[in-house]
């Protein structure tokens, strides 16, 4: 379907673009070898993912809701009455594609980001040794970002299958991703902390962190991955349960 290609292109393009823009504006001074400033350059170079994720979410929602809006779902379910299998197959394809493109995007963001940052003073002299993908933490951040995108896609697909309505599903997904982030800015510490740990984007950010800072997300990267995949799995399970019960 044509919109699929556009969404994937947007996913890759927007992510890299925003990484580039953010890193371009990023500067540091005053450090020296062995004494880095407190920028998390890996985190910074992956910032584009947070913009590209929207394309991934929309793609996944459309993968299922477009069938309902076109009434195609009747044809699909008449030809394939085993609905759970159909949903499972869709999930596998969508998540697989998003993982693959997400990984490529993530790597591209990292490389572009690192290259630009180094030009802006985030280098050995400034206290930031060169980081490559061979570095364990950077590798984890990059691959973890791809896994985040894949889980987000799974979550979006599940919401789409439950809502069966494009605008409604996209609204729910975007709210789930963005509302906590906005709320964290307003809430007091004790309420903001659990939101940071257990919201989609908060947990996703945790996967990308490599430097311990006062404003770090208070959950480790493994915990972050767990939260994110839990969202995806929960949405899929509910969708599988409802799809067999409702009228087409």
């Amino acid at each position: 379907m044509r919109s699929t290609y556009w969404s994937l292109l947007l996913l890759g393009g927007i992510s890299v673009l925003f990484t580039a823009l953010t890193c371009w504006g990023s500067e540091t001074e005053g450090g020296s070898p062995g004494f880095p400033g407190d920028n998390d350059i890996v985190l910074d170079s992956l910032v584009g993912i947070w913009f590209g994720q929207i394309a991934a979410a929309v793609l996944a929602v459309l993968a299922i809701t477009s069938e309902y809006s076109a009434r195609m779902i009747r044809t699909t379910f008449a030809a394939n009455p085993r609905r759970r299998t159909v949903l499972g197959a869709k999930a596998a394809v969508v998540v697989g594609v998003v993982l693959a493109v997400g990984l490529a995007t993530s790597v591209a963001c990292f490389l572009v980001g690192q290259w630009i940052l180094r030009g802006n003073g985030f280098n050995y002299e400034g206290g930031y040794p060169v980081v490559t993908l061979a570095d364990g933490e950077a590798f984890r951040a990059v691959v973890g970002s791809a896994v985040y995108l894949g889980s987000l896609a799974l979550f979006s697909l599940g919401v789409g299958a439950i809502a069966r309505h494009t605008a409604g599903a996209i609204t729910v997904v975007l709210a789930a991703v963005l509302a906590p982030v906005i709320a964290i800015g307003f809430l007091p510490e004790n309420l903001a902390e659990p939101l940071e740990k257990f919201s989609l984007m908060g947990a996703g950010l945790a996967v990308q962190q490599t430097v311990e800072r006062p404003d770090s997300i208070p959950i480790g990267p493994a915990g972050g991955l767990l939260v994110v995949t839990a969202y995806g799995a929960a949405a899929l399970l509910v969708a599988l349960w409802t799809i067999g019960r409702r009228d087409a």
Binding site: T75, A78, A79, P81, A248
Partner: protein, 310 residues
């Protein structure tokens, strides 16, 4: 060889509306079964229940002795056209059929075969969104025929077709039944089914009104009025009235007689040596029979303006 479709006590409610109410009927192979009823009678809902698109609240429906959901390759047993618009508009016709074929492990050449069957061979590469209603219906029929199924279900296939298309479908449906397949065609217009349906299942407000053959329905409804056109109107009127018929004059040279069959009228007129220019017997129409049967079950009735002269 089990019954093609076996509906038993089927009931389906949407909120407080009972769309299908304890419906039971059977569809057999080798026949075209017309599924008729006024708008909103529950025809489309029943078909959706057969295909497992909706779940019944009570009762069950079996296709070839099995539930639809238990069929391994449903397209090879049941072909259905319920909604010609149920396609992705951006997809090409051939891709749409190819996807359907693959989902039921049918070979790709079937796609070309059914496209040719319905006369859409040249339109394979066009996007479905650009199809006219007639083309979309044909594409739906092509999809239904992909698996060469023994049971076919069509929901109002004649809707939106031009006379050429209507004629083609009628011949096509008839040929399917003659090949031994079971064909269920739903319609809210009896005239569409005239000449092709062998059996009728008439429903109204979700309930079965009757299941009967077309010939039985027609013969039970025969009015048998005889129309006569003659230059000697007065004489003929006298003769026929004298023989016991009720005669009404309907024009300067036409009469309508009830109570005598056409053979008797012809004999009487001939015995007196009177001239007869036209003689025919009114045939009960399926449409009148249908309206009579479903009179009480019509949900939405519009006022019929009185025709001048009726």
């Amino acid at each position: 060889m089990s019954t093609a479709i076996d509906v038993q006590g089927l009931t389906k409610r949407y909120g407080r509306t009972v769309a299908v109410d304890d419906l039971s009927f059977r569809v057999e192979a080798g026949r075209v079964t017309g599924f008729v009823g006024p708008n909103g009678a529950g025809k489309s809902t029943t078909m959706r229940l057969v295909l497992g698109l909706d779940a019944p609240d009570a009762g069950e429906v079996l296709v070839g002795g099995k539930r639809y959901g238990d069929l391994r390759a449903p397209l090879c047993e049941v072909g259905a056209l319920l909604d010609a618009g149920a396609t992705h508009p951006g997809r090409r016709a051939r891709s749409h059929l190819l996807w359907l074929a693959r989902s039921n492990r049918l070979p790709a050449h079937r796609v070309d075969e059914v496209l040719e069957l319905v006369g859409l061979s040249g339109a394979g590469r066009k996007r479905v969104g650009g199809f006219s209603l007639g083309m979309a219906q044909r594409l739906g029929i092509a999809g239904a025929m992909l698996g060469d199924p023994q049971l076919l279900m069509f929901d109002e296939p004649v809707n939106g077709l031009d006379p050429d298309g209507i004629r083609w479908i009628r011949v096509f449906l008839r040929s399917l039944a003659d090949e031994g397949r079971a064909v269920l065609v739903s319609s809210h217009l009896m005239s569409e089914l005239e000449g092709i349906a062998d059996e009728l299942v008439v429903i109204g407000r979700g309930r079965l009104i009757t299941q009967t053959t077309v010939s039985a329905l027609l013969s039970s409804r025969s009015d048998g009025r005889v129309h006569v056109r003659t230059p000697q109107v007065t004489e003929v009127m006298t003769v026929l009235a004298g023989a016991g018929g009720t005669v009404t004059s309907t024009g300067s040279d036409t009469l309508v007689v009830s109570g005598l069959d056409s053979e008797r009228v012809a004999t009487l007129v001939a015995e007196r040596g009177l001239q007869l220019h036209e003689l025919y017997r009114e045939r009960a129409s399926l449409e009148d029979a249908f309206i009579d049967l479903t009179r009480d079950a019509v949900e939405y009735v519009a006022e019929v303006p009185r025709e001048p002269g009726s």
